[in-house]
């Protein structure tokens, strides 16, 4: 009994480690943000009130709690600037994720069908951009997309256009930047599921009379859905909150929620509203996460 307990201890610690992590680095900061979102702005340090003062005693704490309100959330709902920012973020994320899936799937499929030793090379090629700083890569795109940049020079040289095209500060530039930056996050999970798929399954489908496109739609694609789900989530969620790429490549006439948050936080110094916007964003992003989780659970149940 005692021996078993000794052996069980490290295992039990390993099991609770992720929860400890979640509490320390997600739940606690989340509680701070939630509290700030219920506070009011103040010209003070920190720039909101009330501030909990544990030394002030029970009554002061009660007063502070009573001062919390949902005013900031009401503001978010009443001013359609926020609503538009959320909608734009979701539109950009949906469009970009769809583009990523369309571009990433054939690449991942091609990689998975390469001879084994070339798969490792292809994998390195997909990951290699990470060796350069993300910011430098986005600035490189500014260089490529500017008025006399590489892209326009090529288009002019090929006589595809007669005048330089305006790329920078457009949605096209932003989508190019997002697709470029997130492509590895789409390819890698897709590749992982496609590579471990038994090739005999596709052969069996062909053997049973399925034409190549039927083999893909009836066998390959349905079996790669876990990878599709993972890739879509890995791209969609960070793209919704994306700040740097739209800020550097897109125009300033319509903002994504990440940019709006930045403005509230750093320019307006309105921490409570920024926090409220962040909380709403989190709630919005929970929806696809929960959907994915339920889908996975159902697949597991069907599997059993």
């Amino acid at each position: 009994m005692s021996a078993r307990r000794i052996f069980a201890r490290p295992a039990r610690f390993a099991a609770i480690a992720p929860y400890v992590w979640m509490v320390l680095f997600f739940l606690v900061p989340f509680a701070f943000v939630l509290k700030i979102s219920l506070s009011q702005t103040a010209i003070a340090q920190p720039p909101y009130e009330p501030v909990f003062d544990p030394t002030a005693g029970w009554d002061a704490l009660k007063a502070a709690l009573a001062a919390l309100s949902f005013d900031n959330f009401r503001l978010l709902a009443s001013d359609d600037i926020y609503m538009f920012a959320y909608l734009r973020s979701l539109t950009v994320a949906v469009t970009a994720t769809a583009l990523l899936l369309l571009i990433g799937y054939p690449i991942a499929y091609g990689m998975a069908r390469l001879p084994k030793r070339w798969q490792a090379v292809a994998m390195v090629l997909v990951i290699v951009p990470f060796w350069t700083s993300f910011l430098i890569r986005i600035y490189a795109w500014i260089n490529i997309l500017q008025h006399d940049g590489l892209l326009n020079q090529i288009l002019l040289a090929l006589h595809l256009v007669s005048q330089p095209v305006v790329w920078l500060s457009t949605d096209s530039a932003m989508y190019i930047g997002i697709v470029y930056s997130y492509l590895p996050f789409m390819i890698l999970p897709l590749y992982a599921t496609l590579a471990k798929m038994e090739p005999a399954l596709e052969e069996a489908a062909a053997d049973l009379g399925a034409a190549p496109w039927q083999v893909f739609w009836l066998v390959t694609f349905p079996l790669s859905l876990p990878g599709v789900g993972a890739g879509v989530l890995l791209c969609f969620i960070p793209i919704v909150g994306e700040f740097v790429i739209p800020d550097l490549l897109a125009g300033s006439n319509s903002l994504m929620i990440g940019q709006t948050l930045w403005l509230e936080f750093f320019t307006n110094k309105d921490w409570p509203v920024a926090s409220a916007a962040a909380i709403v964003l989190l709630a919005v992003l929970l929806v696809p996460l929960l959907l994915y989780e339920r889908l996975q659970k159902r697949q597991l149940e069907q599997g059993r």
Binding site: E203, A206, D207, L208, Q214
Partner: protein, 389 residues
Amino acid sequence: MTDELPKTHGATGAADGDAVAAGQPLLRIEAVAKTFGTFRAVDGVSLDIKAGEFFALLGPSGCGKTTLLRMLAGFEAPDEGRILLGDKDIAQALPHERPINMMFQNYALFPHLSVRDNIAFGLKRAGMARADIATRVAEMVALVKLEGLEKRKPDQLSGGQRQRVALARALARRPQLLLLDEPLAALDKKLRESTQGELMELQRRLGMTFIIVTHDQEEAMTMASRIGVMKSGKLAQVASPRQLYEAPRSRWIAEFVGDVNLFDGESKLRDGHRLIIGTRDAGALVVAEPREPVGAGRLAVAIRPEKVKLSRHGPVSEAGRETAINRLDGVIADICYLGGTTTYKVKLDTGGTVQASVANNARIDVDAYSLNQHVVAWFTPDDCVVLQS
């Protein structure tokens, strides 16, 4: 090993086997070859398969049997030669265009589809009407005794059940030819044996043509009516199981199929219908003259262990003919009890060893031999096979 394999091509290969119904073969493989890089996986194989046959492709791993099967299914295209199904060359046809189905080694069941949808997959692709599909699926489910499991997913089935789904799925389209790639390799021994019987029963009942690939010679011998033994991309011999075992064409086949005692020898002397071969390890051996005349050069005498008899004293020669029986004196060097039989290794006084497999006919055998006991191992000339070494 310096064995030279006789080149077996279609005509001789087919003539070797049991004479099944005459007429045009269902499948004709003509000088088919396939090279991967510099490796010649299949090297000029010609073979006729008759309708209704249960044919086994047997060989060690890497002999090209699976590549040959994959060319029949259409997963590989031959570099040379023709594959005629009826009188149509299908060598370059895509898998989904062939009236041939395959049962895969690890079954390759679609994990996202139920048993029913797995079986119906091929029928749907054939554009069969909904009601007909339901009827056919029910028929197939009954055929492989999977009633009640139609809604299960493959990973909710046992290995044996999965094997049945794979079989039903491959049979559902009623292919002209069913290919089976090591269909029983994933089953345990007991289940494998009972499934062998069921497969044979099914093949006979449906009157279908089966080609099975296996590395298990016992499996091939049990199930197939004809066996093609492959070695290094070539067909080494095509024959019925009995012929393969009793009249192997080469030393390699004799050793690959079952156990065998081999005695290398050279000189030969004719004595009526007998040949006398001087062997290094067992002295002069008398053998029956083979049907095909043996050429000059090194020879080997092959004798199966169960055809070697043991006794405490030499057998009385029939009709006083000294040469009628080969007798070898020796001592028991090793005893291997296998239940139904016991294999004795006899160290011969002439230097070699001979294995004798003796049936354990009685539960209490007071006559069983013991280690170091002096015995006489003997066998008749007719039980010997002379092989070109």
